[in-house]
């Protein structure tokens, strides 16, 4: 029963592109939270060709520096995370709000629900934001987050990561993701990281250590470039039968 103008349906597994699926049983939290009905393909109207542009909003002078938001300095390895935000056309996305949040160096979030037996740091909130410049460039100063256990399965530990939120130019660009650190020994065991089936796509979320971005006697430098858009328009592999 469909009307003549029925919108097309698509199974999530048939449109993944670089993205993970909604249904990924190894990540237990998905089991009751993934939609089981096919998605409705929405032709892009003005509502989808637009989206929030928050580049005009005011930022605090130290919003990008998570090590200077309290009376003292947080413990941990001081790092910078910097890079560029680009559209899928390769053009820089300037004036783009980037929001980040993360655990402290001991692997503990400043959040009532985090019960991991690791110390909070009175000098670390773990939230930051900044705007990209006209070249799409951004930079945060923070400490390297610790790994932490998360009870998804026996002895489950998340690789160290920083959460990123970006808007892009329009609704389809919206992205919330996680940045990882190179060579993390927890990668093979993490269902969230491995929910991205394509290895090249997973690598897009692993930052690079760069000596050029490392500041002598001060901080280690990690580069993390982010390409927005067209995540489901890049078929990387055949749809899975399993």
């Amino acid at each position: 029963m469909s009307t003549p103008s029925a919108l097309e349906r698509v199974r999530d597994v048939d449109r993944l592109g670089v993205d993970p699926p909604y249904d990924y049983p190894e990540y237990v939290g998905t089991r009751l939270r993934h939609p089981k009905e096919p998605l409705v393909l929405l032709p892009h109207t003005l509502s989808e060709l637009t989206g929030p542009l928050l580049g005009e909003r005011r930022l605090g002078e130290l919003d990008h520096d998570l090590t200077r938001q309290h009376a003292g300095e947080p413990l941990g390895e001081r790092i910078t995370v910097s890079g560029r935000v680009l559209g899928s056309d390769g053009r820089p996305v300037g004036g783009q709000l980037i929001e980040i949040w993360q655990a402290n160096a001991a692997g503990r979030y400043r959040h009532a629900v985090d019960t991991h037996d690791a110390p909070l740091d009175p000098n670390f909130t773990g939230a930051g934001r900044c705007l990209t410049d006209e070249n799409g460039a951004y930079r945060f100063v923070t400490v390297k987050p610790g790994a932490y256990p998360w009870r998804n399965h026996h002895n489950a530990w998340r690789p160290a990561h920083i959460h990123f939120s970006l808007f892009g130019r329009a609704i389809p660009d919206r992205l919330v993701t996680q940045m990882y650190f190179p060579g993390d020994p927890l990668f093979p065991f993490d269902p969230i990281f491995n929910s991205i089936r394509d290895e090249r796509a997973r690598e897009r979320l692993v930052s690079c250590f760069e000596l050029e971005r490392t500041e002598p006697e001060w901080s280690l430098g990690f580069r993390f470039d982010i390409v927005l858009g067209a995540r489901d328009a890049t078929p990387l592999e055949e749809p899975h039968d399993d």
């Binding site: 939270r33 409705v40 928050l54 919330v176 993701t177 390409v227 489901d232």
Partner: protein, 191 residues
């Protein structure tokens, strides 16, 4: 290296601690003042496949202003006025037993692809632990019977799907529950 640069960054879950970064008040849930005579209140619950509330989620809305203009350069219809204070974007956590809440105005109608007009609607985006990527849906208004009856998106859906996208009136507010899974699942879009 070239290839690596061109590939978009994939999505990952916001996790259970998104409130640290996204709900510190920088973007609020009131798009207009509650004293605005046009103000409407939208409340709803985010529910999982067992019908249980999702207390660690985030709902975002994107909309045109009351005259039907998006605050975005892609909407170049200069004959329709922008409102300086109205960005058209809001954010609410679902911390209190899965409840989210917005204060906003009903948007005006915006163009459809067939040359007609869409019914007034909000673009609604959902994030939570357990969602490896966000979900996109729409909210339509129950008092827009005629506009809803000719909306190309609503017309492209089955009646039971359509029903999940139309808010209902309860106690002078609009109620709009978002159900992630199950017989009452909300209709979600691929954009």
């Amino acid at each position: 290296m070239t290839e690596r640069t061109a590939l978009p960054a994939p999505s990952q879950t916001s996790g259970p601690f998104l409130s640290i970064g996204l709900l510190d008040g920088y973007v609020g849930a009131s798009l207009v003042s509650e004293d605005d005579p046009r103000a409407i209140r939208i409340r709803g619950r985010l529910l999982d496949g067992n019908g249980d509330p999702v207390p660690d989620g985030l709902v975002e809305i994107w909309q045109a202003n009351a005259a039907g203009r998006y605050a975005h350069p892609e909407d170049a219809r200069d004959d329709i006025p922008l409102e300086e204070e109205f960005v058209g974007f809001g954010r609410s956590g679902t911390v209190e037993d899965g409840w989210f809440e917005f204060v906003t105005v009903k948007p005006g109608r915006v163009p459809a692809l067939d040359g007609g007009q869409q019914a007034p609607h909000l673009v609604v985006t959902v994030f939570a632990r357990g969602l490896l990527k966000h979900l996109v849906t729409r909210l339509y208004f129950p008092d827009e019977v005629d506009a809803n009856a000719e909306d190309p998106v609503l017309l492209g859906l089955e009646p039971d799907e359509r029903e999940t996208l139309v808010a209902r009136v309860a106690d002078g507010e609009l109620r709009f529950d978002i159900v992630l899974q199950g017989v009452d699942q909300t209709t979600f879009f691929a954009v």
